[in-house]
Symmetry: C2
Subunit: 350 residues, 2 copies
Amino acid sequence: MSTSSIDLAVIPGDGIGPEVIAEAVKVLEKAVAAEGVELKQTHYKLGAEHWLATGETLPDEVLADLRTRDAILFGAVGAAPGDTRIPSGIIEREMLLKLRFSLDHYVNLRPSRLYGTVGSPLANPGTIDFIVVREGTEGPYVGNGGSLRAGTPHEVATEVSLNTAHGVERVVRDAFRRASARERKHVTLVHKHNVLVFAGHLWKRTVEAVAQEFPEVTHDYLHVDAATIFMVTDPSRFDVIVTDNLFGDILTDLAAAITGGIGLAASGNINMDRTAPSMFEPVHGSAPDIAGQGKADPTAAILSAALLLDHLGYAEAARKIEAAVVADVEKRDGTARSTTAVGDAIAAGL
Amino acid sequence: MSTSSIDLAVIPGDGIGPEVIAEAVKVLEKAVAAEGVELKQTHYKLGAEHWLATGETLPDEVLADLRTRDAILFGAVGAAPGDTRIPSGIIEREMLLKLRFSLDHYVNLRPSRLYGTVGSPLANPGTIDFIVVREGTEGPYVGNGGSLRAGTPHEVATEVSLNTAHGVERVVRDAFRRASARERKHVTLVHKHNVLVFAGHLWKRTVEAVAQEFPEVTHDYLHVDAATIFMVTDPSRFDVIVTDNLFGDILTDLAAAITGGIGLAASGNINMDRTAPSMFEPVHGSAPDIAGQGKADPTAAILSAALLLDHLGYAEAARKIEAAVVADVEKRDGTARSTTAVGDAIAAGL
Ligand SMILES: CC(C)[C@H](C(=O)O)[C@@H](O)C(=O)O
Ligand SMILES: CC(C)[C@H](C(=O)O)[C@@H](O)C(=O)O
């Protein structure tokens, strides 16, 4: 899919989103220019601010328009925690999750690497270099639940986790494929099949079946509670983790924390069948507390741009961005730099 | 409920269960003898070994008999991971979870404290002293789900999280009550209400309502993913965490890890209405790999016995056990000691 132009959708979003995305675009522009590739950008106003102004979350026309792009670069959305004008979770569900589900982003890819001197909270982190392949389109995220007698002493609230053979198999196969291309070639399934029997056994059976197709890849299993222990006592044991939407949400924030914080954690919401554009976003949120101050670390957004290029077939350009990030990160000594300064330094390092 | 005798049920279980429980009983006997309290013990054979021998998980008569006791001291259950003779999860669900649900153990209490020199994997753990009040009788643990077309490419597997106003309110009130008796008087609700809207809002509304009854207690909210970050970057921020059954399972293993490992983590499955006996157990499992070698750390089991005494109204005896544990733990320097040696040392320190 390597073409001579990229038709990019940019959704800067709220809070620090626009600030970090500006730096990611800066680096992206320089990286693709070096390859003689044209970068066409269309910016979309979406998020909490946009909702306050218009009442729109993600209109059908906008979704249709986004579908025509090659890929989406996404900043962050969400209002300040105290802002009661916005119904809680509405932007997350009706915009961010709607994009992931509508565009069939079934691989939520979240790499975790500890770069050189960057501060892990762990005393002895060792080498950390794994990826989490989080399912992105089903599980407890389907919004399938309800309330009976809400607000009364007899209220019953349910949440249904939906898991399909189709949905589980495609993401498990993706995890094995990625493991096969890595040095250690190891997949760890994380679930809780001793309690969540039905979903858990579907995942476990699927891993056993798909593993047959990849004799070169080893695999094991961890309950999600045990996985969090290893995440802080022996993170080096992980190579590729495959897990469901909710466990993946939890584990990847923890993984970001042990590798120096969500300022560095990139992610891709990927439709591997390419029936719709994939979307790349830093794992962090809109951080309203530091928005507009030029303090936000754009590294996660820049690494997300590298994942975007890799997905579009520009592996070399992606690798260069990652190398420039590593070089910059390894030089960090805790001195505060502005968002722009970090972006400039990484762009200069290309 | 402080009486002059305790009618104790003991379920040693599998693996290291019997070894650690022997030490917990040793310490318990000495602690209550000092108060002039008689300890009557009834031992029950239950667990994976028992299932292999008899096919029984938890017969109705045994459950009925357990109901007549004042409290249950529980070791650990579970076969070796590779043992294919036992259907996965059957002992966990049909015995351990059946006990928690049948005896209405709605408060799954898990204290986390970092004792002196005990090795946390965190570089700068700071002061860690919080409790997790995990709901124990509903949520995703209810076993309410199913498979359609299992084993075919059209399989659909569901898991239903059931949450009731009754179930949420009683555990939230318990958390506020415990917070009110602590120095910092702070409750943190952990959930994921931006995605799990129905259950999440029930929890959130309940916390807001119950908080009115405790004006002296402050409270805040964290999404579960963010909570795992704070668990490794700023665990001192936590005082009392209240959360659902599954999030509590995950967070308490992580909490155990950052406070030096599950060798130290105690728990109580508590029926605060005292309509059935409560059950106290180390958070760790049966650890078949080290079973029978006298290597297991009995500290978590001993601390669980202290929680048991506290629940039965012997606060002073409980405090003494905890003090003896702290004194022992603070002296540890990594030198290996046998299970019995640790038990003896703590008993001697009473
Ligand atoms: C904002 C929220 C809906 C989202 C999620 O839960 O997936 C976020 O936590 C993430 O991990 O991207
Ligand atoms: C063994 C298992 C069913 C149990 C649970 O999930 O509650 C355990 O992990 C725990 O935390 O006590």
